[in-house]
Amino acid sequence: MLSTLLKEPLFQITVTMVVYALINRLYKRSHFFMFNPLLLATVIIIYILKYTNTDYAVYSKGGDMITFLLGPATVALGVPLYKQIPAIRSNLKSILAGVITGSVTALVSTLWFAKALGVSRETLLSIAAKSTTMPIALGITKILGGNDKLIVLAVAVTGIFGGVIGAEVMKLARVKSKIAVGIGIGTAAHAGGTSRAIQLGETEGSMSGAAIVLTGLTTALIAPYLVKWLV
C-alpha cells in the first residue's frame, strides 16, 4: 500500500509543496541566504527520494505538473512589466542603454569564461542565459538547446551571487549614481540581486526591478544569434 502511494504523482506534488512551504516560512523569518527556498527544498527532496528509493522518473510524473505552471508564471511577468512603466519612463535612456549593454555583456562574458575553462558545448548552451529571470531563462535555454535543469541552477546561483556581492562590487567600482547601481544589479542578477538593491534604497530597488523583465526580453531576442556566433 505505502509503496504504491509513494509512486503517485499526488504524493510527489504534496511532498514538494509541503517542503517548500516550510522552508519558505523559515526563509521569510530569517532572510538568511542559506535558507534559499529553492536550493534547500531541492536538497531535502533529493534526500527524501533517496530514502524512499524513488527514481527521478517517478518523481517527475508529479514534478512535471508543477513545472507546467511555469508557463503561466512567465506570462504573468507581463503584470510587473506593466506596473513598471512609470519607473521605466522616468529613466528610459539609462535603462535601455544599461539593459542592452548588460544583456550582451552577460552572454559574451559567460560564454568566454566558460569556454576558456574548458566547459562542454552543452553546458555552454545551458548557462548562457544565466542573467535573466528564471522562467525566461528556461524558455531561452530550450530554444538554444541547453539543459533545462542546469540553467535553473545557474540562474539561482547568479541571483545569490548578485544578492550577496552586488552592493560591495558597486562600491569597489565607485559607481555613485543610485540609478546606475540599481540597473547594474538588476541586469546582472535579476530578482536575487533586486532583493539586495531594495535594501539599498527605493531608487536602487525600483531601477533593479525595472531591469529584470527587460533584460529577459532583450536576451531572448539576441541570444540565438550571439550564441551561434560564439559557441
Binding site: 529553492l38 531541492t42 503584470v79 506593466y82
Partner: protein, 130 residues
Amino acid sequence: MAKIPEKKGIKILEGFVIILLMQSLGTFLSNYFKLILPGNLTGLLLLFLVLLFRVVKLEQVEGAANLLLDNMMALFIPLNVGLVTILPKLKQEWLAIMISLLASTIIVMVVTAKVVELVEGGRRNAKYPS
C-alpha cells in the same frame, strides 16, 4: 463578510484564465510565425499589451499573477531536483561553471552601471560628476 474571500477567489480564477489565454495565443503566434521569442514570452508581451491598451484591467489579472510570481521558486523545485540526473557532468564541471557565473556577474554589474553613468553624465553633468 463571507462574500469578500469568495469574490477574491473568482478574481484569481478569472485572472488565471486570462493568463492561460495569452499563453495559448502567444504559443500559437510563436509557432505559426516562427518567431524568435518562445511562446511564453510572446504571451508575456501580449498580456503587457492588453493591459497597456486597457483591454484587460490590472485588477483582473493582478491576483492571479501575484499568486504565480510570489511562489515561483516552488515551481522550479522539480527541475532543480532533476539535477541528480546530470550529477556526473556537474561533478566534472561545477568549478568552471561557478567561476564563469561569478566572474560574469561581476563584469555585467560594473559594465552596465558604468554605461548608465555615462548616459546620465551626458544628460545631467551637474548631478553626477565623473
